[in-house]
Symmetry: D2
Subunit: 398 residues, 4 copies
C-alpha cells in the first residue's frame, strides 16, 4: 500500500513513530552524545543500504550527529515512506519509496554507489559488490555488513577483491545473545498469538531447526506451556534439544503429532510435500526464517483444491483428501506480518545498532588498529564496551 | 470509528472474520451438532447482553442452531458493526451499533427486556435488574450471568428478588484455570510486546495484585526472562508470590525499582500519586483489569506539565520535576488496545462459551434438576463434561 | 537399626542435629520469644503423638518454653532415639524407641492418654479416639490434628463424640502452598536424583495424580528438563495438567512411553499389574504418597522371577518375560528413603509448626473465641499472622 | 574412613554398586558389544589415572572387554576400596587405596608409568608428564586427557614435548552440553537440598561465575523458584546473565542481599574477606568448583571467634561482630560432600566415558587418520556418533 499523504503529513506521522523508539534506545543516545562531541565522521559520507523504518532511522540520526553525510536507499519493498520523509527533512540524501519495483530499487542502489561514499553500511554486500563492479572501491575507507549472508558473500565470491575492511555485525556474540536467542524467540511467540489468536498452553508445536533462533522459539513456546518437538539434522544440536526437554524427531515422524509447525533453519524446502501429506487437518504452518522458502509453498499449492484468506495473514488451504492446512503470511517471515508487526524489541536493536555505530567509527578512524582488508568480526573491545553499557542500562554493574 | 461500509460489504468482511474463529472453536462445534439434533431451545427466545465480536457471534449461532430466537444488544462502545451485520443477516434481532451513545445503549437494553425473552444471557446483571424493575420477571425461566461482578450484584442488591435460576459462568473453576490463569496472562505479555515493542528479558516488572490474573501475568513475564515483583495486601497471596520466586513489596517500596507497572486487582487507585512520585523517569504504566480505574489517571494528569501521544496506545506524560512516565491505553484494559488486539485465545473462550451454552440449555430444560432461584454456580457435571471434552480435543483421555 | 550408643552420646549427637534446624526455624524462634514472655500453657500439659525427629523437637521445645508439660510418644517405627534422648534430658516425658514393635507402640499411646493431658497434639486422631474410648475426654480443653486423614476421622467415625475443639492443621492454605506444592515437589526431585543418580533432562516421567503434591512434582520435574505425562481421573485436574503443558493419559496408555513412574494420589493400587505389564524393561517405579500402597507391590512380586537389591533403596525385579523393573524403597514414600533423607525443607516445616504452636495456644486460651467442638480449620487470623511473618522473614513486607 | 572389610566382602559390596550403574550406562553397553567383537586394544595395555568409583569401573571393564590390559591408579584420596577390589578380581593391575598418603599416591603413579603402558588414560596430565620425565614417551602410541586443566598443561609447559597424540575429552561440546550445563547444575541443586535441607523457593542466591557450570546452577535454582543474582567480570557473560533474568552485580554489592553464595569460577579467592564482611548473619557459603580455593576459607577463619560442625558437611563459623556464616564442606566441591553424594548423573558420565572409549580406540588404531602429536580435540565424527546414539537412547531419531 503506497502512502498517499502529503510530505508534511508524512513527516509528522513518521516523527511521532521515531520519537518513541529514540526515547528507548538508550545505548544509541549515549553514542550520539559522544559522536556530537567527537565527530568521528567529520567530512566523511556513509553510503547506506538498510531497511528504512523507525529503528534504523535512529541509527542514521546518530551517524549524522557524528558528522557523516548520509546517502542511501532502503531494501526492496520494505521502505516506510513516512520515515524516509522525516530523514530527508533532516538533510539525508535517501532514494526510494515503498512502491518501487525491482528495477527502480536497483537503480537506487546504483545511485548510492555513484555518490562515492567514503564508508559503506551494507546489507547483503550489495553496495560492496556494486562498488567493485563499478571500479570505485579504491576510494572507500571501509564498511560494515549487517547480515551473515552478506558476510558469507564477502568471504566467498568477493574474497580477495575487497581492499578495505568490512566488519560483519551479525557475527558478534552480542547479536546472537540479545537478538537471535531472546528477541527473535519472543517476537515469534508474540506474532503467533497476535496473528492466530490460538492458545499456546498444551498445544503441540514442531520447531524445525535448532540454531540460535530455533532454540529461542522452542524455549519460549515451552515457557508459555506449549509442548515442543524439534526437527534437527545435526546430531549435537539434536542432543541439546533432547536434553532441553523437547521431543526430537524428523518432520515426517512428527507430522501427525504436531498442530503448529514453525521453520527456523535458513534452508529451502525443510517442510515439504511429504511432511504436509502426513499432517492432521487444521495444521498451522509458519516460517520464521529470512527467506520465504523454508515451507515448500509451491508443493503445498500443487496439492490444493481451494484456498481462502481468513485473515490478512492467514490462509486456509483445502487439500484434495478433505484435510486443510493454515498457512501463515504465505510462508514469509511471519513476525513481520499482520497489521501491527513490531519485529524485534527496541533494546535488542539498540545493541545491534550500537555495534554498527562503533564499528563504523572504527573503520572511519585514522589509526584503525588491527583492521585488515575484507570481512572480519567485530573487534572484541567493541563487544565488551557495548555489553558493559547494556548491563549498566539494565541497572547492574560488574 | 464508525463503519461506513454498506451492509453487504460488512457481512462479507464480518463473515470471513467469524469463519476463522468458528473453525477453531471445536467445543462449540460439538455442542452445535448436539443442539441441532436436540433443539433444547425450541420455541424459546434468549435475551442477550454481550460484547458483540467474532467469538460471541459463534456462541449466538450455536444457540440459534439449538432452536432459540435471539434478541439482544452489545455492550456500550464495543459493538463491532460487521459482526452485527452478519448475525442480523442470519435472522437475529440485534440492536445497537458501535457509535451509540450511552442513552441509545440503555434504550437498546430496554428493547431486549421489552421483547420478553424466556431466557437471559446477561452481563453485569443489567437485563435481570431491568426485568425486575419492569415487573416482567415472572415469565423468565432462568438465565446465565457472564461476570463475577454481575454475580455479586445478584447476591447483593438483587438477593431475594430473582424468582428464576441464574448460573454465574465466571465462577466456574474452568474459567479460572483456562482463562484467568493462562489466557489472560499470555494475552497481557503479547499485548505488552505488541504495543510497546520493549524487551522482556531482564526488565523489572511490578505486578500489582496476585489473584488469578496477576499470578498468570507474573508467571509468564517471569517465563520470558522478566524480573518480577508483586504488590499484594493479602498476606497469604503475598506468601504465594514470594514462594513463586517473585520479589514482594508495597507499590511505594517498588516504585524506584520497577520499570513497568501492571495493575491486576479490580480495585480503584492501586497505583496512585504517591507511587508515581517515586518512579524513575520513563516508567511504563499499564492496567489489565476490567475497569479503567486501577491507575489513578486523574492524579497522574494533575501532576503533568505536558503530554504526547507517541503511538495509538502510548502516551508520554511529562511531569513537573522533569521526569516522564508512559501511560498505556489511557489506563484502560490494555490487552484490548492497539490496532490489532485479539484478546484471550480462541480456545479459552471456547471453554467459556461452552459453559454458557450448556448452562443455558440447563435452565431451558423441563426438569432443571437441582437449580434454585437466584445466583448459583455452574453445576459440577457441566464442568466435568466440558473439561473431559477439552482434554479430548487436546489429544488425551482420562 | 537400633541405636546402641549410650544415652549421653545420643544427647550430644541429637543436640548437634537439632541445633542446625533450630537456628533456621526463624518463625518458631519468634514464637518461642513470645511464649517465654506470655506462658500460654502455664500449668497445662500437652499430650503428643508425632514423628520424633529434629524438626518436631524444635516444636516441642517451643511448647515447653510456653509453660507446657510435655508427655508424648513417637509414631511407630520412625522414632529417632538420639532426639528422644535430648528431649528427655530437657524434662519431657516421652515414651518409645525406634525398635518398638506395634504392641509396645500402642502401649505408649495408651500411656500418653492415661497421663490425662489437658491438650492434645494428635496425629491420625489416635489420642482423641483413645481418650474417648477411655472416657477421659471431658477433662480435655482441646487439641490439634496434624493430618488430613485424622481430620477425616474426626468428621467421620468420631463426629459428634468430641466435646472439645480440634484444629486440623493440614487443611490450612499455608500448608498447601508451602509444603504440599513446593516442599514436597522439591523433596521428590531431590530424592530421585539422590537415590537413583539418573538424569532428569529429557527423561520421560509419568506422574500419577495431579493434586497439590502431584502438581508440585510435575512442575519441578518439568523445570529440570524432564518430559512429564500425568495420569488423573478428575477431568478438571486433568485439564489443568494439560494446560500446564503436560501430556495426559491413563497409566495403561503411558506405560510403554514412560521411563519413571511416580505415584502421588493417596489411593491404593493406582499402579497395578496391567500398567506394569505394558512397561518397557528398566522402568523405575516410585511412590511419594504417605501410604505404601499406591504401587501394587504384591502384584509386582507375583509376576517376578527374581530380585536383587542394587542399592539400599533400589531393587531390580526380574519379570518372567525377560523385562525387569526397578522398585524404589519397596513402594514406601521414597523421599524419606536412602541413607541421608532430609524430607521437606526446614522452612516449610517451620510454617507448619508455627500453625501448630499458635493453634495449640488458641485452644489453651481462656476465651478461645470462635472455637466449636470437633474438627475445624485453622482460624484465618492465625493463617494471616503466619503468612505475614514468613513474608517478612523472606525480606519483604506488604 | 578406611574400609576394614575383608577383600571378599568388598568385592560383593562393590559389585552390587557397579551393577546398577552398568545397567544404566546404555552407551557403554553398546561400545562394549562392539569392542568384544573388534578387540581394538588386542595386545595393548592402557595406563590409567582416574577416580576409581563405580562409574569409572564400568569404563575400565569396557576397555578390558576391548582387549586391553589395564594398569592404573586412582586419584589421591578418592579411591573407593570396594570398587578397586572388584576390578582387581577381574584381573586389572590397580595400585592404591583410599588411605594412601600423598607419598604413596605418587609412588603409585610412578608404578603405572614404570609398567610402560602403550596408551594413557590421563587425568591432569600426570602420567604424560611423568613418562616424559622418565624418558619412556617414545613407546607410547597416544592417550586421552580427561580434564581441561590437563589440556592446558599439555598445551603449556608440555607443548612440543609430547610425541604422541592426546585427545582432550573435556573440550568436547558433548561434555559441555550434557555434563557442564545440565548435570553439574542439577547435581548442585540436589546437593544443596540434601546437605542443608533449606528451601529454594523465594531464597536469594548469589552465583559467582557464569561459565557453563554457573549458568546451569543459576538456571536450575531459578527453575526451582529461587531468586538468583550473578557475579561475573566478563561483560558479555554478564549481559547473558542479565538477559536470562538474573540480577547482576559484584560480590560486594550483593553481599548484604544474598542468603546463599555458590562459587563456580575455577579461580581462587573470588569470595573473600571483603564480601564476607558485608554478608548478613546466617549466610551460607558453598563452592562448586574443582579446587577448594574459590572461597577464601583462610580469610574467613581469620575473622572467626568460634566454630561448630553442625552436620557432617555444615560448619557454623562465629564472627567477632556477632554474625555467623555457614560454610559447606569446608569450601571443597560440595556436590561430592555429605554421606550419600552421587555426583553427576549416570547418563552424563556415560556420554563422557563413551568419548573416552572411542577416543582411546582411535589412538590405538593403526591408521589413526588425522591425529597429530600433542593435545587435540575429540574428532568431530566421534562427537556426532555419540550424540546420535544418545539421542536414539532417548527415544528419538534424526
Amino acid at each position: 500500500m503506497a502512502d498517499t499523504m502529503v510530505e508534511s503529513d508524512l513527516v509528522v506521522r513518521g516523527g511521532k513513530r521515531i520519537d518513541w523508539i529514540r526515547s528507548r534506545m538508550r545505548l544509541l543516545a549515549g553514542v550520539r552524545a559522544e559522536f556530537e562531541r567527537e565527530k568521528p565522521f567529520a567530512g566523511l559520507s556513509i553510503g547506506v543500504s538498510l531497511h528504512l523504518e523507525p529503528k534504523t532511522a535512529v541509527l542514521l540520526e546518530v551517524l549524522k550527529a557524528g558528522g557523516a553525510a548520509i546517502v542511501g536507499t532502503g531494501n526492496h519493498g520494505s521502505t516506510q515512506d513516512d520515515i524516509v520523509a522525516v530523514l530527508r527533512a533532516q538533510g539525508m540524501n535517501l532514494f526510494g519509496k515503498r512502491d518501487d519495483d525491482l528495477q527502480q530499487h536497483l537503480a537506487n542502489v546504483a545511485k548510492v554507489v555513484a555518490a562515492k561514499p567514503d564508508i559503506l553500511l551494507d546489507n547483503g554486500a550489495d553496495l560492496v559488490a556494486l562498488a567493485i563492479e563499478a571500479g570505485t572501491e579504491a576510494t572507500i575507507r571501509g564498511g560494515t555488513e549487517e547480515t551473515t549472508s552478506g558476510g558469507d558473500r564477502l568471504r566467498g565470491e568477493l574474497a580477495g577483491k575487497v581492499p578495505f575492511p568490512v566488519i560483519v555485525i551479525n557475527d558478534s556474540p552480542l547479536k546472537q545473545i540479545a537478538e537471535n536467542r531472546h528477541a527473535v524467540g519472543q517476537s515469534i511467540v508474540e506474532s503467533f498469538m497476535r496473528i492466530t489468536n490460538l492458545m499456546i498452553p498444551g498445544r503441540r508445536f514442531v520447531v524445525v531447526g535448532y540454531g540460535w533462533c530455533g532454540r529461542g522459539i522452542a524455549q519460549y513456546l515451552d515457557a508459555l506451556g506449549g509442548r515442543v518437538a524439534v526437527v534437527e539434522t545435526d546430531a549435537i544440536k539434536a542432543l541439546e534439544a533432547a536434553l532441553d526437554g523437547h521431543r526430537v524427531g524428523t518432520a515426517e515422524d512428527l507430522a501427525a503429532w504436531g498442530e503448529v509447525f514453525i521453520t527456523a533453519t535458513g534452508r529451502p524446502g525443510v517442510l515439504g510435500a511429504k511432511a504436509i501429506a502426513g499432517m492432521r487437518s487444521g495444521a498451522v504452518l509458519a516460517n520464521s526464517g529470512h527467506f520465504p522458502w523454508e515451507i515448500d509453498v509451491a508443493a503445498l499449492r500443487a496439492q490444493a483444491v481451494g484456498s481462502q484468506l481468513v485473515d490478512d495473514s492467514l490462509e486456509r488451504i483445502e487439500l484434495a483428501d478433505g484435510r486443510h492446512v493454515v498457512l501463515v503470511a504465505d510462508g514469509r517471515m511471519f513476525n513481520l506480518a499482520g497489521r501491527e508487526p513490531k519485529g524485534n524489541s527496541i533494546e535488542s536493536m539498540d545493541i545491534g545498532f550500537m555495534l554498527q555505530a562503533l564499528s563504523l567509527a572504527r573503520v572511519a578512524g585514522a589509526g584503525r588498529t588491527g583492521l585488515v582488508p575484507g570481512a572480519q568480526p567485530v573487534p572484541d573491545d567493541i563487544n565488551q564496551t557495548i555489553a558493559r553499557r547494556m548491563v549498566a542500562e539494565m541497572g547492574a554493574h560488574l
